[in-house]
């Protein structure tokens, strides 16, 4: 059933992506808005403050919000253009149903909801409750994330709920839980200001978190040394004091060698290690053979540079280590994270002013969304779904019997595999475009085609939704009240600037309605988003991610509150671990051995080149939103394959020549961008595009055994020049490629 009803091209014609631009002199009424709404950007984890201008229930423009402390008005291009979504021709305005041969035709809410409920019942009756899975996403607010978690377990009664945070920072989450017993960036970003050394590992900050650049530059103005670890010479690396051009998939070797250097040269904080940590000996035993020479051999970084980095890190009095997807998207993503944490713990620079560590959460609510239970193994407050005490507490909050609470389910990519195996037959998704964002997209597409029933809630008809039987028009971030938690752990207020247009509804009301129709009205009786948040506070109480003391009023008055915040008179916790009482069972920070392992796929004669993927500044994740905003598309119209001139010469590839890049899973044709700013043995393709322009046709479904994150950042590929120069980028229609 879930094959496309008509050709993808025909769907694109009606539902986009179409590029939206402001009219020549801006939208009507921009200069005299009905209201100016102080809210936040809908995109990355920085959650920059921004003001939206509203005229006649339409978002018509933006204004910088100078008072919000993190960004003080600063924005990236995505933030500046984010206002073009509510007022967009592709915006879904009515429920749609799939009609074979006709495409998607409008239907009523009643008909579509009835269909959904009937299909859920049919599939669950026939194949069991867990045969109906749910996929969610962390562009959703805390309230919606919490609600989805409760909905899936209580109303849908399935264990198979997972979310797109699985592609984001789960490796960091797992690593942080192992080391600290809690999953949050340890510091807020103002601690960068006087850090003497900053390590940025696998984080293309200047393109993926542009507004964070300000804080790093600020530290450098105070004399901080910047060390950037990345296979590419990214804008942040260009001016850095040290750029370690690591070979993709070898990060843990680098951190291991640095740790050994610190140990060998006694650049350790013995007091901290002895009194507040455990596992040090096993950890340094694991790296005892990791000499600089060995590390140079493995990582491809000159040993002098590794040494210089270790010296800088070892001698600093204050420091901040930041990492992101570059080290996390690996089959050993958790090991890489632990390798970083080991460097932090060895020098004892945590829990003190200007001594920081943290992952930079990628998605808008990547932090808050990963705490409140729409992960397959988790319950609100970052509780463990397999821990009997945790289960009991949440079952009580939800008013259900603990034994009716489903257990641990499958992770996002495993759900796709289970669909292939026939274990999962039905799917509901919200805020997730797996066809573009999951690895091995041909395999994902085949899975979608096997589904018996698929219902998608979204505000635009994304690529995955083309396989749906029913599409329910939900809400944009600016169309509903709520809160998110930024990458710093700051809980902030998202405002409803406008109500959903046409017959579209808020995501919350859709989920509540579904719950009601599934017979669970009394457990889903919320008057508004604040009521959901208040239940979330109770549900998170006593958990590691404790929101109990946070209220809407406090968030508004204080411009955000940092969790944990157990009571209403608690000031919140901008900096963790000042008391050195870690949340692990023994109360200590844990060193964890992180020995170097090979990536899931290594280069060989057939596939001799390493492929890595990433992002560009003007696009966001799977592009459902940003591939519909004209100027953002025009800024980077199509994915290019970045190739070093020496490698290009070997293959006789010219600038903008079309190159077929293939892996064991698929192939794609991309224009070459020949640049010296990438390693000679590696090529890079950004992943925001769909169909034949999707980099994820190539990436592998190898998962980290602990975090289940896919290995987007390294695989083996081959290159085949096509001896044809690509047409000008400005003519590209990659934004809508099928």
């Amino acid at each position: 059933m879930a094959k496309l009803p008509v050709s993808a091209e025909n769907i694109v014609k009606l539902f986009g992506p179409h590029k939206n631009y402001s009219p020549k002199e801006g939208f009507e009424g921009r200069d005299e808005p009905d209201k100016v709404v102080e809210t936040h950007c809908c995109f990355c984890g920085m959650q920059c403050g921004i003001k939206l201008l509203v005229k006649e229930n339409k978002v018509v423009g933006f204004d910088p919000w100078m008072e919000f402390p993190f960004n003080e008005g600063r924005l990236c291009p995505k933030g500046v253009q984010r206002y073009l979504q509510n007022n967009h021709p592709d915006r879904l305005l009515t429920p749609l149903k799939r009609v074979e041969g006709q495409g998607f035709v409008p239907t009523s809410w009643d008909e579509s909801m009835n269909k959904v409920v009937t299909e859920i019942s049919r599939i669950q009756l026939k194949y069991g409750n867990d045969a109906f899975a749910m996929l969610s996403g962390v562009s959703l607010t805390n309230e919606k994330s919490y609600l989805v978690g409760k909905f899936a377990r209580v109303a849908l009664k399935t264990k198979n709920l997972d979310y797109n945070g699985r592609l984001c920072m789960v490796s960091a989450g797992a690593g942080n839980k192992k080391a600290f017993g809690l999953d949050r960036a340890s510091n807020n970003y103002s601690d960068l200001e006087y850090a003497e050394v900053i390590i940025v590992a696998g984080a293309n900050i200047s393109e993926t978190f542009p507004t964070l650049t300000h804080w790093i530059w600020k530290a450098r103005d105070r004399g901080a040394k910047l060390i950037v670890i990345d296979p590419r010479n990214i804008p942040l690396a260009r001016t850095a004091d040290l750029h370690l051009d690591v070979k993709p998939g070898t990060d843990s070797a680098l951190y291991g060698a640095m740790l050994k250097y610190l140990v060998d040269h006694d650049m350790l904080d013995h007091d901290f290690i002895d009194n507040y940590t455990s596992g040090f000996q096993e950890t340094i035993d694991a790296v005892k053979d990791y000499t600089l020479e060995w590390a140079e051999e493995i990582t491809g970084i000159k040993k002098e540079k590794i040494q210089a980095a270790a010296e800088l890190w070892g001698k600093a009095k204050t420091s901040f280590l930041l990492h992101a997807r570059g080290i996390e998207h690996h089959s050993k993503g958790v090991d890489n994270v632990l390798g970083c944490i080991n460097l932090v713990l060895a020098t004892g620079r945590i829990g003190k002013p200007y001594c920081g560590y943290g992952t930079i959460t990628g998605q808008g609510n990547g932090q808050g969304g990963r705490e409140h239970g729409h992960k397959c193994d988790q319950l609100p407050g970052n509780r463990d779904i397999e821990n009997p005490e945790h289960r009991k507490y949440i079952a009580d909050v939800w008013g259900i019997n603990e034994k009716d609470l489903p257990g641990k389910g499958l992770s996002a990519y495993e759900i796709i595999e289970a669909i292939h195996r026939g274990e999962i037959r039905g799917l509901i998704s919200i805020c997730f475009n797996p066809l573009v964002s999951l690895p091995n997209s041909n395999y994902v597409r085949a899975a979608l085609e096997k589904l018996e029933f698929y219902v998608c809630i979204d505000f635009f008809l994304n690529e995955t939704a083309r396989h749906a039987d029913i599409i329910l028009p939900g809400s944009l971030q600016e169309e509903e009240e709520g809160t998110t938690t930024s990458a710093e752990g700051r809980v902030i207020r998202i405002r409803q600037a406008v109500t959903p247009p046409g017959d579209a509804r808020t995501d919350t009301s859709i989920i509540l309605d579904l719950a009601k129709r599934l017979g669970e009205q009394k457990r889903f009786n919320f008057e508004n988003s604040e009521a959901i948040f208040n239940e979330l506070r109770v549900a998170s109480k006593g958990g590691t991610a404790d929101y109990n003391g946070i209220t809407y009023k406090r968030v508004e008055d204080e411009m955000g509150v940092f969790w944990p915040c157990p009571t209403e008179d608690h000031p919140g916790t901008p900096r963790l671990w000042e008391d050195k009482k870690f949340k692990t069972p023994d109360g200590k920070a844990h060193f964890n051995p992180a020995p170097y392992k090979l990536p899931g796929e290594v280069t060989d004669e057939q596939y001799p080149i390493t492929l890595t993927t990433g992002r560009v500044v003007s696009q966001y994740l799977s592009g459902t939103q940003t591939r519909r905003i004209g100027k953002l598309v025009d800024q980077f119209p199509e994915p290019l394959v970045e190739i070093h001139p020496n490698l290009a010469k070997e293959y006789g590839i010219q600038q903008r020549e079309l190159v077929r890049v293939s892996t064991r899973r698929g192939e794609g044709i991309f224009p070459a961008n020949i640049v010296e700013t990438i390693r000679e043995d590696t090529v890079f393709i950004p992943y925001h595009w769909s169909g034949v322009k999707s980099a994820n046709q190539l990436t592998p479904g190898t998962l980290d055994p602990i975090s289940k994150i896919p290995e987007f950042k390294v695989c083996a590929c081959k290159l085949e020049p096509l001896r044809e120069i690509a047409p000008a980028s400005s003519e590209s229609t990659a934004y809508a490629s099928t």
Partner: protein, 189 residues
């Protein structure tokens, strides 16, 4: 003109080594009321084949603007605050003299309008005491608008310079570029 609130103490400071090429400024500039969805600021790769270096260029608002001098239509004027205004729409004949003669490569010919357009330092905002859009959103501090005291405090290792040497020509501008401490000028060649 509505210049009652133009803040004479605030100045524009540019440091293109901080630029990360994100183009937030370009997007924001197009939101400025004076230039209707056209962007007047320029961000471009310096030489992408070898480096990710980008540069960002606002109008430098020269003391003796070459653009106005070479304009055959008297379309470019300079006001009492030293702002060099964009081409007067009824005068500009679209000849591009200013585009090609500006030593900083700032004016832009809008071919479909047959009109030159350029940065007016966000006159709609600065004339009422606000900061220009580009400098407000710039996430990297490559563009900063504020007082001399503020920049000196923020960037203790730099000096603001507004004198540019092109061979024998010295061009003095209203806009500053941040240079190594103690610099007096920037020599282009």
């Amino acid at each position: 003109m509505n210049y009652t609130n133009f803040n004479r103490h605030e100045e524009f400071f540019v440091d293109m080594q901080r630029c990360i090429g994100c183009k937030a400024c370009e997007m924001a500039c197009a939101e400025c009321e004076t230039n209707g969805q056209e962007t007047m600021i320029h961000v471009n790769y310096v030489d992408r084949a070898t480096t990710v270096q980008t540069t960002v260029q606002v109008c430098m608002h020269c003391e003796d603007p070459v653009c106005a001098n070479v304009c055959p239509a008297d379309a470019i004027s300079q006001d009492e605050f030293g702002i060099v205004h964009t081409a007067n729409t009824e005068r500009c004949i679209g000849c591009s003299n200013c585009v090609m003669a500006c030593p900083f490569g700032v004016p832009k010919k809008e071919e479909s309008f047959d009109l030159m357009m350029k940065c007016t330092m966000c006159y709609d905002r600065t004339s009422v005491g606000k900061k220009p859009m580009c400098a407000t959103v710039c996430p990297s501090g490559a563009l900063f608008y504020g007082t001399k005291e503020e920049i000196e405090e923020m960037r203790p290792n730099s000096t603001a310079v507004n004198s540019f040497i092109f061979g024998k020509e010295v061009v003095n501008t209203k806009v500053n570029i941040m240079m190594p401490k103690g610099s007096k000028e920037l020599r282009i060649f």
